[in-house]
Symmetry: D2
Subunit: 458 residues, 4 copies
């Protein structure tokens, strides 16, 4: 990675969120999708890390790709265009290794070595949250943004999406758009407004609304109906403002069931879809599905992707995974090839994920403290998804799983199937038909065969 690109990632993306809160923790970079040198992770900050190259499945080199080959064509598109990988700024560059029981364990080279003016300014501001007004924050942000804009001239790096972080500051303890305080709602609106402007200015292609603290801790003190109405008003205003400034990026909602609140309003894909439909916003938003959030809500990642897809809402993927045995968001790098294969089957059915992408919303384990680990983790995550893609294609091209499903539903391709699907078969007609048919024949669902076919492609 060239130093200019690295700095750009830190600046432009940090900036995009910086406008909105004291402690920048957001905004991913589109490393893989847009920028031809973005997978060349080398240079000043990482003198010991070589350029990461594709070496194929038999390679023993942990600093090489075994399955991800950016320029290779697969199903008519280059790999990098299928995935549009992006690095999560807050996890990868600012993640400290802290957890509720532990202090920071990470000491990255750019955290102390950098002496750029902008970075120094930002750091000092990060630790001085009080006393700042919205105006001051915005002014500081503008400085950083200009530097980022400048750096973009020599680079292809653009934000995959921008966002505003509305949960860290004490003012947001009851939520942002769903706060019980109207002044907080206004403050949140002002932050999102600025973040949308900056995202637009830097060429971002999407804008994400994180769930933040939009939810409740106990219904005893909460007016859920009124809070949801406020959230809808907030989104309506965001849609209006997006159009006003000519920003054409997709607006994304990211479902999550719990954490930090006991109940987040964007619980899962179906809950978010119900909300959007209820308030007439269904055509203005898409969903950003995170695999770890899916499992926390009791679903598989594949289920959430499919639910989003059949509701016409699949917009972006937070590519991570959780531990099946733990009840909180562990944000691990996805390394399960089976899960990755299912994810890619949904993406292929969706015709791809652009203008969204795969954002690595995943963090190193707290105990992984070498710079090398950062690369190993991302390589592993990218390789897993690439391997999932190769497997999904293999399954599709081999054809027997598709055929199994086609055959399973073949009775619906009959005359009466067609009538029902077109809404032309009422109960009286169906009763008549049922009597004609007699006891229906019901074939095996062939789940074990489907699993065998699936596993054989791994």
């Amino acid at each position: 990675m060239k130093k200019v690109d690295f700095l750009l990632i830190l600046l432009c993306l940090n900036a995009a969120s910086f406008v909105v809160f004291g402690d920048p923790q957001t905004c991913p970079a589109d490393l893989g999708g847009k920028c031809s040198d973005s997978d060349d992770w080398e240079g000043d900050f990482f003198p010991d890390i070589p350029k990461i190259k594709y070496e194929g499945p038999t390679s023993k080199n942990p600093l090489a790709y075994r399955w991800y080959n950016a320029e290779e064509e697969i199903l008519g598109k280059k790999m990098k265009d299928w995935f549009r990988f992006s690095v999560a700024f807050w996890h990868t560059f600012r993640g400290t290794g802290g957890d509720p029981f532990g202090a920071a364990t990470k000491y990255w080279p750019w955290e102390d070595g950098t002496n750029s003016l902008a970075m120094a300014k930002r750091r000092s501001k990060d630790i001085a949250p009080d006393g700042n007004t919205l105006e001051e924050s915005n002014k500081n942000l503008d400085e950083v943004i200009e530097l980022a804009k400048e750096l973009q001239k020599g680079s292809k790096i653009r934000p995959l999406w921008g966002t505003a972080q509305l949960f860290l500051h004490p003012r947001y303890m009851h939520g942002g758009a769903t706060s019980s305080e109207v002044g907080v709602y206004a403050y949140a609106a002002a932050q999102v407004k600025k973040a949308m402007e900056v995202t637009h200015y830097l060429g971002g292609e999407n804008y994400v609304f994180w769930g933040g603290r939009e939810g409740y801790q106990t219904l005893l003190n909460t007016d859920m109906g009124r809070e949801l109405d406020h959230l809808a008003r907030f989104f309506e205003a965001a849609v209006a403002y997006k159009k006003k400034i000519g920003f054409n990026g997709t607006l994304l909602i990211e479902p999550k069931p719990q954490e930090p609140t006991k109940h987040q309003y964007d619980w899962d894909a179906a809950t978010a879809a119900n909300f959007l439909r209820k308030y007439g916003l269904i055509n203005e938003f898409k969903l950003n599905i995170e695999c770890n959030h899916a499992t926390l809500s009791g679903h598989t990642c594949h289920h959430e992707l499919e639910t989003a897809r059949i509701n016409g809402l699949l917009g972006n993927i937070d590519a991570n995974t959780g531990d099946a045995q733990t009840g909180w968001d562990t944000d691990q790098f996805l390394t399960d090839v089976g899960e990755a294969t299912m994810v890619m089957m949904s993406v292929i059915r969706n015709g791809g994920i652009a203008p969204g992408g795969f954002n690595f919303d995943a963090k190193l384990r707290r105990e992984s403290t070498d710079v090398e680990d950062l690369f190993i983790a991302h390589i592993s995550g990218m390789d897993t998804i690439a391997r999932g893609m190769r497997n999904a294609v293999k399954i599709l091209e081999e054809g027997s799983l598709t055929e199994l499903v086609r055959k399973r539903y073949s009775s619906w391709d009959s005359e009466i199937g067609k009538q029902i699907e077109e809404g032309k078969a009422d109960f009286e007609y169906l009763e008549k038909k049922a009597k004609e048919f007699g006891e229906p024949k019901v074939p095996s669902a062939k789940q074990e065969l489907a699993e065998m076919i699936f596993q054989s492609a791994m």
Copy 2:
């Protein structure tokens, strides 16, 4: 309970579902709501059980009500009209105590002692499911229905709701309306058609669509989008048929996340609401919320009731509870007074639950084998809900919890709050206001005080 009433419950309700499947397992009776003698549980079948009377909280008699007093007025209505209790036919009268690992443990007096023609006929048919055609089933059902109708003349007992059971028979192993076989869809339609007719004929006030096996076991062999489309077509046809026959009862969907399938399509209230909105059915259905299903889906019962309520969908309550530590539907009688109080707070906010009611979708533990246990369980469940009602009223009348919530949202009653709620505050206006306000003051949420107030009323 008079013998005629008891027989009627067995016949009329059994009948209502009998039409639809081989093994009748459905249809609750409105014991408390409509029939003045329905809480007099005494008579031929239970020679040792006295009439159950209200004796007040200090009573030590397990066969007496401590909190439920049917005729007592509370918040302007009689208790029995608030609750409209109904007995679950399948659990209470036909529950055998069997579980996946155990044989029947229950030997109720009516299971061997009865010698009525109708009952004998029904029994023999129950154990001869194969060889029957739809026509034969319907004909047999008609006989039973006529006897029930006859008995109704001397009684006030009516079905709270009717339903069709579409999951027991092997033909429904892939679902009913979402089966991969079109012939099964037709068969299911014919059964529901008949069940709706019978429910209407017997004066039922609601019709419930159980989730049955409408869901999937694995996405590998499933076309979820197409199956959901079929489910919508089915519901559309049901709405049309309901109107055609002049049945004015409410149509109800009962959310459940899992069991028997890995993923039931009516996962929770929000998922069901999204489905209804997507297919334009939102005004034709309400929800039947079951507390045990709520906790299985990761929510509290109160959350599901409130979600249904604010979506305008709260129609009926399956009054039971689950074990917080087990991952399947235990269908226990609700005995937690705190939970009952929250339930009643939602019901009061909803203005009552009629024309729905409280159905005891709860079963004796397998190890509880005395006839007496059946009465103790129902008395305990009724008393718990009545006690919850008394507590909820106490909390409302005492007023401090309501005041806590009112105060918490009071900033929204300001001018700007009103503008936002009316959709008149765009981002630019809000940013201007945020700058004027400066850093907003954010008061305590007072959760511990709310809990203290709540608990003090227990």
Copy 3:
């Protein structure tokens, strides 16, 4: 499979459990481990199923092994000797597809076609549970056993283990050895006594104590301490009887956290180990670890295997898997190669699993109704485990994961490490050393690298 072998499995194993209860549901067959023709699944009952052969990973034939090659040597042993596969009689041959919401869906050829005297007798007895005394049951059993013994003469099939089923009959509703009724305890003892005799007579190599209903539904009516004391007395008597009759097989306990009771006394491996230690039984028993039970108790299968192993208790494996999102025992066939690889890593560390084996405690999904599905499921399960073995060997032979772990603990191979491990380092000495050392250097745990190495071997 030769008809004689098939009959033998049905008879001898059914017999082993038959002695103990009305409805035989137990006792696995050692198909893979002992009998050279046992993987030749062909013959009279399955005219359409060819002999299952090893065809290698590129085969597209669902009725062939891709990874399991019985005679192939791996790490110095034949595959069949590593795995000692056994078929679960109750799932594979008697599983009906019934679930708490559904009737039987399976119609296997041997369920109606068989006309052997013994089978007919058994069937008729199965459905006549009442009226039988213990004496009658034992007498009937003896007849079946003699037939099985006779058939064994021409075959190498032996029971992997025998057991008694103490949960189906109503008498066991409060448990067997932990029943609140002393008469039930005596009855259970008599059944286990007979089952141990029969297992011994038929050459069984292990005897398993299923958890059954040894547990509680609510502590309100339970004296847990006294019940556990009774369980210990029961096991002591079993140990004494085993020795008395000269049965040298391993006694096994099978941990399970819940189902059918809310809390099973053999919750997980550590709980079972604590029980065995408390009552001085630790040297008389080993554990039968089931993967699905492991995940239900909040652990991974690998964790339970390792916990058993480091407590010296790993005796047998119930090779199945659960759905990570459902809260009950789904008993699916294991198809996750990653999980199988971890399982085999534990087995290799354990020096193999004999005299135990891999029992397929897994059932076809209810919707899988073709005879072919039965074969596909077992082939898939056997192949998955064989593939896991191949991967585990690959990882061991490649060596970098072993080296990563060795290096991680290398500071313990120092002088002070040795002193601590030998119990020679007290707090004062350690404080002195800590002062000498100064702040210790703490290297990265390299979790992502470990995962990358692991996944690369898949």
Copy 4:
């Protein structure tokens, strides 16, 4: 509360843990048990908080006790001696309201207003963790300890227990006693040594080993057997040192299943008991049961208390509760009276909890930011437990639940029951008896009646 007492709590207890790590977060105070003025929460720091008095159940005053009446005798002991309440220093006095997604929200008066030398010193050290050696830390600690000791002269406040915190500092990222680094083990030993000395010096009555990070994140890089051996060596050394310095307090282990590691070695009470038995430490330790940890491990709090009790290990209670729907440790104040009643039933069976006590390991919700909330929360927690005690006594004195259980097991009080319990009934004798008995009679377990009796006492 007198200022001197308050200061003492801050100093002495902070001190007890301070010795061991940079950021003091530990050591509870015995407010209720020992010090006659400790429930007089008034004085300099809380000018607006009146003395908290007992006003009885009808009081509407949130700053009064409704059920806790310190000097009232119940079952032969004063309430305060039953409970021995202690405040959790780290939650109550140092809890900031931060969570993984949020900054501090609490601004308590003592955090900025205090200008005592000792406190200032401590604060400045807290934020300067690096550069300190073990020697320096110990020296600083000694200063604080001396001040605490001095203040104790005018007060009855003593630590309920002391502990060392071995998880916050990066050196402990792989654990303390189970670290993969031997130097960390030595460092941990030195910290525990000092903490035991200080606890002893200040009159502490127990010493707790928190689980910290003793566990693993993945088995791929972990040698679980070796780590557990190290943990045992560590505990052996602790036992030896305790005896050497003449400290007679109880050593306590606190089970917890997860968080911060994926798998904590002290998973639950049974797991901890197995560990203690395996290494011959069973007579040297007791358990500190935390209710929220109990539910996270899939048990009820009551189950864990009973498991500890029947293993002779119930030593202390961390009185809090979790949210049944969330998968992490929420550490809420216990307000469920039913749960408190079960807890007290175990404590009464245990003959009390001394020399342990009830430690409020519970924290205000992040959104509760008034000083008043701190008092309301503790009052609510104390009242809940006191109310639980009153209910438990009512149930015991009323007698019908005890009678129900006695009757349930009455067959065990027969001759044969006695023989079995004494280990005198072998399988042959039992078989003989089973034949004599014939089919045993199995009565109802009366769960619903037990629940009715229990709920009626609430």
